[in-house]
Each structure stands twice: as C-alpha cells, then as structure tokens.
Symmetry: C2
Subunit: 135 residues, 2 copies
C-alpha cells in the first residue's frame, strides 16, 4: 500500500467531515459513519486536533469541528503530519542518499513520478474534494 492505514484513516475522516454538513462531529457519530475501529478512531481524532486540523470541544455535547478553513488544508499536509516525516520527499528505495549508482538506479524515473504525485497532493484541498464530490 502506498499510504499507511493510519494515513488513509486520517484522510477519510477529514474528507468525511468536509463533505458531511454538520455543525459538530462526535467521535461516536464518526464511528458509526466511517468503518474505523472505535478506540483507534478516537485516538486519531486527538492526533488531528494536536496537528491543528480540527478543534475538540470537551464535555457534554462536545465533539470536533474544523479548526481551519477547508480550502487551506491540502492532502500533502495531512499525509506528512500523520506519517510523521516528509514522505513525498523520500526516495522510492528508502535511501537518504541517492547518489549511488547502480544501487539507486531507479532514482531518475522515480523523481518524475514523485514530483507529479507531490504536485497533485499539494494542490488538492479538502474544499476541492468537497466541490468535486457534490458536483
């Protein structure tokens, strides 16, 4: 898989929140809608809160809302926040130094692919996804 399970969860949560019109999302509600294990989902929600994508409201009637405008949250940012390192900068062969040939002979062809991917992820915001899904 190209993205870790956790990263795909994070993206799915935020995309769902972006497209489902609700003033507030409780963890319970998100659990019922998305197919992510309850406890793990809650932990991820806390993570996303710490990363500043959403804000948590504690206490009775609490839940989660977007902390920023959806058109300012790009897929690349979500991916990098959750993966914990700059995934889109890495060599496909997992090397930190890509100078060596033939060890990293894939480097040339990979660079093109990676830049293409990076461009797409950096230009696609949650708002864009919302727009294209409602159309």
């Amino acid at each position: 898989m190209f993205l870790s399970k956790t990263t795909t969860y994070a993206i799915r949560i935020l995309i769902f929140m972006a497209t489902d019109e609700q003033p507030l999302f409780s963890a319970q509600y998100l659990f019922e809608k998305l197919n992510i294990s309850n406890r793990y989902l809650r932990r991820l929600l806390t993570d996303l809160t710490k990363h500043g994508f959403i804000t948590s409201l504690r206490g009775r009637n609490g839940g989660f809302v977007f902390a920023r405008k959806m058109d300012s949250i790009f897929l690349s940012e979500i991916i990098e926040a959750v993966e914990g390192f700059n995934l889109l900068e890495t060599c496909i062969m997992g090397r930190t130094d890509c100078k060596l040939s033939p060890v990293c002979a894939m480097h040339g062809s990979w660079l093109e692919i990676r830049d293409n991917m990076k461009k797409t992820f950096s230009l696609t915001s949650l708002q864009d996804i919302k727009n294209s899904s409602t159309t």
Copy 2:
C-alpha cells in the same frame, strides 16, 4: 515508504546483478556488496529463484545467475512478485471497491498518478537500467 523494505531489497539485488559483470554470484559475495542482512538476503535469493528471475546452483562453487534475459525482466514484475499482490492496481486508500464517494474522493487524482507510475515500471527492464548506468 512507497515500496516495502523487502521489495527494495529485491530490486537492489537484481539491479546489482544486472550491472556487476560476474558469471556467478554467491550469496556471500552479494552480502559483502549490498547492505542487506545476511540471512534475510539468502532467503530473498531463494524467493527470487522460486519466482523465476534467477537460477540457483547448489553445492560447492554454487551461486546464482539470471534465469532469463535481463531485457525481459521489468520492474513491475519484480514489485508484484515480491509484494505478493498487484500493488500497482490498488487504490491509494487501500480499498478494493472505489465506487463510493466521498469515502474514496481521492480516486480521481490518484488514478492519473498510478497509471503514470505503472507505465514507468512496466516499461523499465533491468537491461534498461544497466544501459543507463553504464552510460
């Protein structure tokens, strides 16, 4: 990481064998040249043998040689053999059914990237890599 460690090992082994001119490669020799743990490397060599990329010669003075011409071995084949499933066909979100919006709202942009990647991997053979590295 976009490819598993094991897959990058497999690719590195075969690229090394393609570029280093030797009539026969012993596991010991490959271990000294590549930076892959000894035992795991040997297991991978057996795997690559079973997948038909290389042939093993047992007994004293044994080792490994290519089982097929290098211009018939494409990166896509190596990746799919080692990953054990058709990685390049999968959805970036790890879903088997990508019909649902907004759950898989990334599908559109991903398709383009994936096809691009698939094309590159399907068109690049070990021979190509050898040619480009000696030039």
